[in-house]
């Protein structure tokens, strides 16, 4: 077990390195000089040139790209995310403040996706080819296809503007209190919709597979009640592939948070990333993508661990 955990953690390093490399080079090789954008365009004369050189030296942008990359990697190894080009402040405190907000939103969206998605999936499978099944699957198709910003705005207009039930944007406190929770309802639903739909469809097909197995027939023929057959015998086995998907979906939610957080002004990592991209703020983009990638890796790691818990046949020795 320990060996497995250590191995998985070590495997995360090349993954993160690859992400860092791709992001670093795609940001630096893209056309456009960030320094030009840091100086107001109406500044003229030789002082401007001095300033350009000074900024390049200060941020190490005057060095060859491979040296910049090495120094970036070594700083990240020391958990130094650098300073924002735009605000000149260190990025780490901003990230520290934002990561919990994104995690809370992701956790709530995942919870919604699991509760609704799995429930709808089971109902659909059990009531296969009925009106209910068809309606659920059409609903799921909508959920997958609908752009999240559209769904978000629709909710904001209905529940925020017309009905005035929920605050339209922002976030205060944390989601474990009503004051903060009400801010999270619409963003979490927006973020969780696509995953709910995917999980519902996946749970349904997985359940249908399991229900047709011999051991389910055996369970039924033993005279067990339908509820026990479905929940204890079928669902348990049907959930194994669903768990795999859940890990991937959590990662997808981290990247999906980019849109949701922008729509709802949620003070999270996703919005920070968008800001960094629009202002060509290299360190911010590098820092936030690294955090999102790390979230992905951790989610997958937890998924792997969860297999062992759910499926006793799996051994990691």
């Amino acid at each position: 077990m320990q060996a497995f955990i250590v191995k998985r953690l070590l495997l995360a390093i090349p993954t993160l390195l690859a992400v860092m490399t791709i992001v670093f080079f795609s940001m630096h090789l893209a056309p456009g000089d960030p320094v030009d954008q840091m100086i107001p365009p109406d500044m003229e004369g030789s002082a401007r040139e001095d300033m350009v050189e000074r900024i390049r030296a200060q941020y190490g942008l005057d060095k060859p790209l491979h040296l910049q990359f090495l120094s970036y990697i070594s700083r990240i190894a020391r958990l130094d995310f650098g300073n924002s080009l735009r605000t000149r402040r260190a990025i780490a405190p901003d990230l520290r403040r934002r990561i919990p907000n994104t995690l809370q939103l992701g956790a709530m969206a995942t919870l919604i996706a699991v509760c609704l998605g799995v429930t709808f999936g089971i109902i659909s499978a059990v009531r296969r080819d009925t009106l209910l099944d068809n309606a659920t699957m059409v609903g799921a198709l909508f959920g997958v296809s609908m752009p999240s910003f559209f769904f978000g705005y629709m909710m904001m207009l209905i529940f925020g503007l017309y009905l005035r039930w929920l605050p339209p944007s922002g976030f205060e406190g944390h989601i474990f209190q009503w004051a903060g929770f009400r801010y999270a309802i619409m963003p979490a639903l927006t973020l969780g919709t696509a995953s709910t739909a995917v999980l519902a469809r996946f749970t349904r097909s997985s359940m249908l597979d399991v229900i047709s197995q011999d051991y389910i027939r055996t369970a039924r023929s033993k005279g067990l009640g339908e509820r026990i057959v479905i929940l204890r015998h079928a669902l348990r086995n049907a959930l194994i592939p669903v768990i795999t998907l859940l890990g991937i979906q959590f990662g997808a939610m981290l990247s999906g948070s980019v849109i949701t957080e922008t729509v709802f002004s949620w003070p999270g990592v996703g919005r920070f990333l968008i800001q960094g991209i629009t202002t060509r703020d290299f360190p911010v983009v590098q820092g936030t993508t690294l955090i999102i990638a790390l979230g992905f890796v951790i989610a997958n790691f937890l998924t792997d661990l969860a297999y062992g818990f759910i499926d006793p046949r799996i051994r990691y020795d």
Binding site: D36, R88, I99, Q104, G170
Partner: protein
């Protein structure tokens, strides 16, 4: 490995994840005991403002972006400010004396910083000396190069000696004055996140990208504001800002996109305020290559484009057609220059005269933006009638800007904003000393008379004479059609009717909050 141990490990990891997410999010307001005096008997008057991007720096010497500027206007008072027509108004300086050799400012007595210390000539000198120090890395430094030395005459008089006459410099004297004693005690970085000025509002807290909170400065020299507290919330999405205003979440929301203007005008619960903007939008050309090296071709383009139609289609009819690089509200704006109003016949004649009766093929570069794309498509459609075949190249901003600086374009569309003294816009865009990368004369326009007039207008202190020079410059530029001007910008700000006596301004946008109050709270 037993099942139980598995359960334990997974549970611990999930709990740890939650604990981590909780650890940094304990709300600060929980810890603060509510002061009963603040709630009873009078509810504090709190105004909430939604703006599009968070401030980047709360030190007025370093901040160059609009968001930081409008927040800093409330924290710090500068020596002077200007009104909507760009006339200089005194602020901390109650009077001033401008000559070709020196600018002298006479400060008000009894102007207090938020910490209770008095603002004196020492603070003024310190503020501008630091900006002029290259090690301080103020991005606006080039503006202050004409200052040779700053002399303190007495506690309330400060003189800026100039190395050469420079009239526009007075417009750069609006920078908020910082307290020297704080900057020296706490280090210069302190003010970037802990602003202390002599402005109408005092800093309370900044949670980056979340909110900036400030309270009334009770000892403000101009009288304490009526509003007790102002909270700025950066909300990047237009729709979200609008919904926040309509639900009472904020009292002020701006900028307002043109598509929302009519709806908000019709809404009795919104007071939509309109101000002329500080900029204009234009088409620029490569003056060094055919076909645009010939001014007849540029004039023909101006005649061939129906600018009213562009404004109607792209800006919902909300802007005015532009014909000069100096904004209409400025004292230097010449309203009588040739306007090249839409006339396909004249366009055809001019093209024939230039030898392009069959048209030509060109590339039009734009940065990613919906309005610019729509404008380009209209241009492409309209100019096709003259055989001018436009290929639209839409680029990400960085790539676009690189191409513009490297002169890799035939035509491009861009805007110019934040014009104050005409020198700041016009000198940089049309003087032949200002070719990129140092300057903003990206079209490489070169005209000796324009250069001469711009130099004169820069070094003449007399406003009437300067106006004369700029009038002539505008005439030449119109005749040359160095740019084809499209439209002047306009600013909209949506305000809750609860907020009384507040007027949004083109410059110093929210400074009016010092005189405003909330009704019914």
């Amino acid at each position: 490995m037993t099942r139980r141990r598995w359960t334990g490990i997974v549970t611990i990891m999930i709990v740890a994840l939650f604990m981590f997410s909780m650890s940094a999010c304990a709300p600060p307001e929980e810890a603060e005991p509510v002061d009963p005096d603040e709630v009873e008997p009078d509810e504090p008057m709190e105004v909430r403002v939604a703006y599009s991007a968070d401030a980047t720096n709360l030190d007025p010497r370093l901040a160059t972006d609009v968001s930081s500027g409008l927040v800093n206007d409330l924290f710090y008072d500068g020596l002077i400010m200007w009104d909507a027509a760009l006339n200089i108004q005194p602020l901390v300086a109650e009077d001033y004396d401008l000559t070709e050799e020196a600018f002298t400012f006479y400060l008000r007595e009894g102007v207090l910083f938020h910490d209770g210390e008095e603002l004196t000539a020492e603070d003024v000198k310190y503020t501008f000396d630091t900006i002029r120090d290259p090690d301080f890395e103020a991005r606006n430094l080039p503006l202050y190069e004409p200052i040779e030395e700053i002399e303190i005459i007495d506690d309330y008089t400060v003189r800026f000696h100039l190395s050469e006459p420079n009239a526009p410099l007075i417009y750069y004297m609006h920078v908020g004055i910082v307290p020297r004693h704080i900057a020296e005690q706490e280090g210069d970085e302190f003010l970037q996140t802990n602003p202390i000025g002599a402005g109408p509002f005092e800093f309370v807290e900044w949670s980056p990208n979340d909110y900036i909170e400030m309270v009334a400065h009770e000892d403000y020299w101009g009288g304490a504001p009526n509003i007790d507290r102002v909270v700025f919330k950066p909300i990047p999405e237009d729709t979200t800002r609008r919904v926040e205003l309509e639900t009472g979440g904020v009292h002020i929301a701006f900028p307002v996109p043109p598509e929302d203007v009519q709806r908000l005008k019709d809404d009795p619960d919104v007071d939509l305020q309109e101000q002329p903007g500080s900029g204009f939008e234009y088409i620029s050309f490569d003056h060094t290559q055919p076909p645009f090296d010939d001014r007849h071709v540029r004039q023909a383009i101006a005649y061939a484009i129906d600018r009213e139609e562009i404004i109607d289609h792209v800006y919902w009819g909300l802007r005015d057609v532009a014909y000069s690089p100096i904004i209409p509200q400025s004292w230097a704006h010449n309203p009588d220059v040739p306007r090249f109003e839409y006339s396909p016949e004249k366009a055809m004649e001019l093209l024939a005269e230039a030898g392009y009766e069959d048209g030509f093929d060109v590339e039009l570069k734009i940065s990613e933006s919906d309005p610019r794309r729509e404008i380009s498509e209209i241009l492409q459609y309209e100019l096709a009638d003259f055989g001018i075949d436009i290929t639209i190249i839409e680029q990400e901003w960085g790539a676009f800007y690189d191409d513009i600086l490297e002169m890799d374009f035939d035509m491009f569309i861009l805007g110019w904003s934040a014009q104050t003294d005409p020198d700041r816009g016009v000198y940089r865009q049309f003087h032949s000393d200002n070719f990129p990368p140092e300057g903003a004369n990206r079209q490489r326009f070169s005209n000796d008379r324009v250069d001469e007039l711009l130099d004169l207008a820069r070094t003449t202190m007399d406003v009437d004479q300067r106006q004369g020079h700029y009038y002539e410059v505008q005439e030449i530029l119109a005749e040359e059609q160095s740019y084809v001007y499209l439209n002047y910008t306009v600013d909209f700000c949506a305000v809750s009717p609860q907020l009384q006596d507040f007027e949004y301004q083109t410059y110093f946008q929210l400074f009016g909050l010092k005189d405003a109050y909330l009704e019914g709270e």
